[in-house]
Symmetry: C2
Subunit: 367 residues, 2 copies
């Protein structure tokens, strides 16, 4: 089977290339030595904010170990302080190559400056010095359970971590959403790492914490780090098949032709039914005056981000995905290759030592 076109970027090398079935292949990767856990990329998504704060509080007291080093980062401390998604522009759209390489002036929005700081800390994006794995924590108001969101459908590290969480977490559905974009155009913080994904959990209103959603995020992060530790210590993870959802398109709210304001809300039959197949003719919207608007597409697709609060500013009511089965190979780490040296906070610290910068720059700590 031909190597998927973008697999090579993830630095694994094929061991049993003659095998006709992907699932019987074994791919060997370098260890995943440096992991970044980021929260507060959107300042009002509070599970990640509190998870990061708790980690920073505890990890100051612990020592590094040889299996993995974890940096914990508050990505957008100004937005966190204001409990807003962002202060000037959406930080999580600032990690394209173009934005990361633009010249900073006095008028550059805070979030663009911050994206370049984070790229210096966790990247540089696309370089061998980048963190091995960036996990960026998010919340959604949509009823999506726990979702991995990533740009590749052949990053075996991410897909194996995903399958591991799916098996370990019985009290929340775990799914994988794939945005098919090249690395240059990938715009979110997790794209800075050699491997990376957003861990998106909902439903939770922005600006508050629901204990069960925070617990799910804590469990998700813990299972991810457990997987990394197992992987780095030489455990082989068997190949198999996973289901993923590949983004197809956004669906916008209907608008009043006169005022341009929204004229409908997500239909009650669709609300909260993320990942339940939407068929042509199914109810999509209910207008404010009571009429039903049906889905006019010809292909049944899977809705997600249904009625996500943050997307009102773009007028996006939901997204639609195609479900696909992906064969993944067995993977293991190069046990004879030592983990890369761990970066320390002191090496990455450039700002003055305010509380904000301490949270914001995190600490590479052993788990």
């Amino acid at each position: 089977m031909a190597l998927p076109k973008s697999e090579s970027q993830y630095a694994g090398h094929e061991v049993t290339s003659a095998a006709s079935w992907m699932e019987r292949r074994e791919v060997v990767f370098p260890t995943v030595s440096r992991v970044a856990v980021c929260g507060g990329t959107h300042g009002n998504e509070l599970s990640g904010v509190y998870l990061v704060r708790e980690r920073l509080k505890k990890k100051k007291l612990t020592e590094e170990d040889d299996l993995v080093s974890v940096v914990t980062v508050m990505s957008n401390p100004r937005a966190v302080q204001q409990c807003r998604r962002y202060t000037e522009t959406d930080l999580n759209r600032c990690f394209t190559r173009a934005t990361l390489s633009c010249t900073v002036t006095d008028k550059t929005p805070y979030e663009i400056v911050r994206s370049q700081e984070l790229n210096a800390l966790l990247g540089p994006k696309g370089s061998p010095d980048a963190a091995d794995l960036v996990c960026d924590l998010h919340n959604t108001t949509a009823n999506m359970g726990l979702c991995f969101i990533a740009y590749s459908d052949c990053d075996w590290i991410c897909l194996h971590i995903f399958r591991y969480l799916q098996r370990q977490m019985s009290n929340i559905p775990v799914r994988f959403i794939h945005f098919d974009l090249p690395l240059n155009e990938a715009y979110s913080l997790d794209s800075v790492g050699r491997h990376g994904f957003a861990m998106e959990i909902g439903p939770q209103a922005h600006g508050l914490v629901r204990s069960n959603i925070l617990s799910a995020m804590q469990d998700g992060v813990q299972h991810m780090l457990d997987w990394v530790r197992l992987f780095n210590s030489g455990t082989q993870f068997e190949g198999g098949t996973v289901e993923i959802y590949t983004m197809v398109k956004n669906v916008h709210y209907p608008r009043d032709p006169e005022t341009c304001g929204l004229s409908a809300a997500v239909h009650p039959h669709l609300q909260d039914r993320d990942f339940c197949l939407l068929r042509p003719g199914d109810p999509l919207f209910k207008t404010f005056s009571g009429e039903t608007v049906n889905y006019k597409g010809t292909e049944p697709l899977y809705p997600f981000f249904i009625n996500e609060c943050a997307y009102y500013e773009k007028g996006v009511a939901l997204s639609l995905a195609r479900r696909r089965s992906i064969a993944i190979p067995s993977i293991r780490s190069e046990r004879d290759r030592k983990p890369r040296r761990c970066m320390t906070a002191e090496e990455t610290e450039e700002e003055d030592e305010t509380e904000e910068s301490e949270e914001a720059n995190g600490l590479w700590n052993g788990e």
Copy 2:
């Protein structure tokens, strides 16, 4: 039975004062001729915002009738535009006598200026010129269903409307919350009317609309206006008993003694269980490190506004109430008294004719 101490302020006069049972009394009130329906007092509580916009769009095309005149007002258009609770200070805390009578300067927060404009339009508070009934529309992230929130437990008009909605609306629980404050200290917009209440509906995250919550609000407003029309046309509403929840106290989040940040979220067993009796020893919080904090009070009380997003800034996790049964008399309107003349938009309009001011100043329209 002695007349409750503050009943007289609501201008009804007792007809069968000799009756020993409140429920057998009949109280006659002037008609409820001028009703204000207000939304967007908090700019990110979107059911009220869209309900008001829809009403303004439709009512421009209709004529007044003799039974009731309704003014529809977008209370805080600037906050609505920014989709924020408020721009400088919480508008819905600005309707005390002190704030309404303070001198406005260039530095006065927008919301204080706006509260005085609204008081001029719908009040003056406490005067015979005030609107007969002010219904102010709100959303909460708490699982509270539809709640009336009012300052009196003996405003028979409000309590009868409440009971009417409770009977008419089968698909959402309808409750009455009583904040025991004198009129001078009553701080919310609805206190400007001769009768008034907030109609609070949830759960709905701020910054988005859930179709079922918007529908419940539309139904609630329609039933309220139906009641007013029945009342004004001479229908007698029988006395009886209603249950109300009288606010006792707020419960604050636990805080980290070092950082002063929150250290716990509402316990998963309590989350979404608004109006379910909380007993001494029941779980109240779960700390971010996993411990349970129990309710240490000695009296079983009813929680509400559990995990309301807007109260994080005050550190309030929930409120607790005592449930009480209230006897209400029969009421009817003075049929021989004509409805007061309807104020027109032109009489109340003082600002330039931008779209904002049109929404913000509303129209007294017949239903």
